[in-house]
Amino acid sequence: MAQGHAVKRYSGLMDWLTTVDHKKIGILYLIAGGFFFLVGGLEALLIRIQLWKPLNDFVSADTYNELITMHGTTMIFLAAMPMLFALMNAVVPLQIGARDVAFPFVNALGFWTFFFGAVLLNVSWFTSTGAPAAGWTAYAPLSGPAFSTGHGMDYYVLGLQIAGIGTLIGGINFLVTIINMRAPGMTFMRMPLFTWTSFITSALILFAFPALAVGLAALMFDRVFDANFFDPNNGGNAVLWEHIFWIFGHPEVYILILPAFGVISEVISTFSRKRLFGYSSMVFATILIGFLGFMVWAHHMFTTGLGPVANALFSIATMLIAVPTGIKIFNWIFTMWGGSIKFTSANLYAVGFIPTFVMGGVTGVMLAAAPADFQYHDTYFVVAHFHYVIVGGLILGIFSGLHYWWPKMFGRILNETLGKWTFWIFYIGFHLTFFIQHFLGLLGMPRRIWTYLDGLGFNEMNLISTIGAIMMGIGTIMFILNVVITNAKPQNAADDPWEDGRTLEWTIPSPPPEYNFKQTPLVRGYDAYWKEKMDGHKGMTPAEPIGSIHMPSPSILPFTMSLGLFITGFGLMYSRDWTFITEHIGFYVAGLGLLITFGSMFLRSVYDDHGFHIEPEELEDKGVKA
């Protein structure tokens, strides 16, 4: 069986550029997503500094527009998504007892396309025409060539297009991994909830991102090739963009929040030392939220003028989502009920998540009432609502998950004392920033404005909000400090560092060896590891004898494929401006980029990857070096 193929083993930087190991790709996602979280956070702080007093001129109106556009775009696409992918990569294969994802090569490709798209988008800051400034929703015709001159929005359409490809193929990869790669006995209804929510999120990615791809392509055609999709002067339809954007955009918010639900379910169950209450209803609620998520996009467009019938239907569909979400909230509370709860940092974030998310949900139902929405629309009430669900939901979930799985990813437990301090400062700062914004909105302060007049009653509340934002910034810095301090400590986390681990990832070393499981485990029930513990066993029953393990080879091609797309994006963007050497040199540059991409795909197709084998005598518990 083992034919002993020679395999190139890289080290140092080349190792990270060529890796196809899901654990290393998870770390890459975390570093890149964490970096863009800081960039987006810096943009948020600049916004709040500009708004701390009336008639402030800290930044210009144009710069402010760039800041709000890039803050939203960066946080959603370049920070939240990759940090979720980091957790999914690090945890899902371990939770289902798999040695790797279904397509390790595609997994690396997904990361690199995301990375190059993100870099492309942010390069815009350093150009003479500045960053995109038409809002993260890029509504036409504002985002079209007539009103967004310069290249800012070109960076938006092309950067997001390239990053979106990465997300889409990442989603397909996780779907196939979860369907095909589960260990023996790991039936669907025994899967940990984080795996379930990752599964549904991946399905939403699959069906939502292609719509965004078409919308971005059409907007790109409008901008670069003078097409007429969204230009009413030439028969185009600006409302069409709203539909396309939100039929992607609404599922996107469920793509973001579902994995956070999964994290919360794992953390609360572990630290309450209880089985998750109502597991099957949790699964059902997740599926229902995913399904309904596609039925509600027009609630972002109540004031567009779709008419009372459409508004009523979308209003009701939106309110329906409160039902499965409510099921989840009660299940978490009932899981804690009667449990022996340990308030670790991870659990503090998880428990803090519950009331915060409920508040975001309640304002969501308020906004779902179409007649009332006409009052809330485009005010700070909306800003408060979506920050409650995204920061108070998703970001708290990510912090919880990072504290919980950090020892599994890096072999070191984050400092608990510092972690708890960080939680309280971030949490109080968050509520200080955004709770007050509900009232600013109800008083009539519009969102996306550069500044406001004195004497409108906005001054004190904006100041409080800015103070809260600074606290969140301090909290984030404390988290980074915690990472640095922890990294200096010895890598000595136990396999099951929380001692109450319930799922398969806690049965293997921290960090796991590159093949994850020396022997594929046999799963005998939900909470597989907990079940073995309760039955008095030390570990899992293996489902196979120790044998040689087949591994995929590292490859630089995912990097070059994505680099090609990056070059293509640049070429297309400057196709009109670059006239040195010859006209339309941009198109030649774009062609060169596509040649690199398709050439790499051709090489991948023609040269088979035989991978390599790790023989039984080589199996030792060595982990990912990070």
Binding site: I172, M181, A217, N228, G235, G236, N237, L240, H550
Partner: protein, 205 residues
């Protein structure tokens, strides 16, 4: 479960699904086609929303020549049939017939693409350019996305033919053939919708 353990000699009954890698590939490709469905669905929606915005350009009813489009349709649908024969040859482990049917499929695909290029060239001369109107932009984007898929499929299947000639039919090459066949059927189905929604409806209303 290694990909090359059955490489020589006896081939399993359904070689495309004989390995975990093969099964992953087939399932992943089904899912990918699900995403492609949304992609084309969005393109169709945009076209339907914009198809009456002709402005000063030619009306679709006077522009479209159904005889040409019908010929292109017949060629593409026939190529779908020949790709089925190719998969049958795959299941019979008949490499020679497999390669021949794939070549026929590629040639038919090239014929379709040639007709489409001629058609676009003709339309531009009639004053129906990419930037003429919202109708024309959405028309070229929808039909052009499909044409680009056909062109990609031609390159892809050609590369697979080359691999089959060099490596023969193995558990590594079989999933590639199978998945390319799925892709080819998918772009045929999309064309059936394009023929109906773009051309037939363009003639009627």
């Amino acid at each position: 479960m290694s990909t090359h353990s059955h490489a020589e000699g006896h081939l399993p009954h359904e070689p495309e699904k004989a390995t975990l890698e093969g099964r992953n590939k087939v399932l992943g490709f089904w899912l990918f086609l699900g995403g492609e469905t949304v992609l084309f669905g969005t393109l169709f929606s945009a076209f339907l929303a914009l198809r009456h915005q002709v402005l000063d350009g030619p009306q679709p009813s006077e522009l479209f020549k159904l005889s040409l489009v019908a010929a292109a349709t017949a060629i593409l649908l026939t190529s779908s049939l020949t790709s089925v024969f190719a998969i049958q040859a795959l299941h019979n482990h008949n490499v020679k017939a497999l390669i021949n049917w794939l070549i026929v499929t590629v040639v038919l695909g090239l014929g379709f693409l040639g007709l489409e290029i001629y058609e676009f060239y003709h339309y531009v001369h009639e004053g129906h350019g990419f930037t003429t109107s919202a109708f024309s932009s959405s028309f070229y984007t929808l039909v052009g996305f499909h044409g680009a898929h056909v062109a990609f499929g031609i390159f892809w299947i050609s590369s697979i033919i080359g691999q089959l000639m060099k490596k023969g039919l193995t558990v590594v090459t079989a999933p590639k053939v199978y998945v390319a066949g799925m892709y080819w059927h998918f772009i045929d189905v999309v064309w059936v919708f394009i023929f109906t929604v773009v051309y037939l409806m363009g003639k009627v209303v």
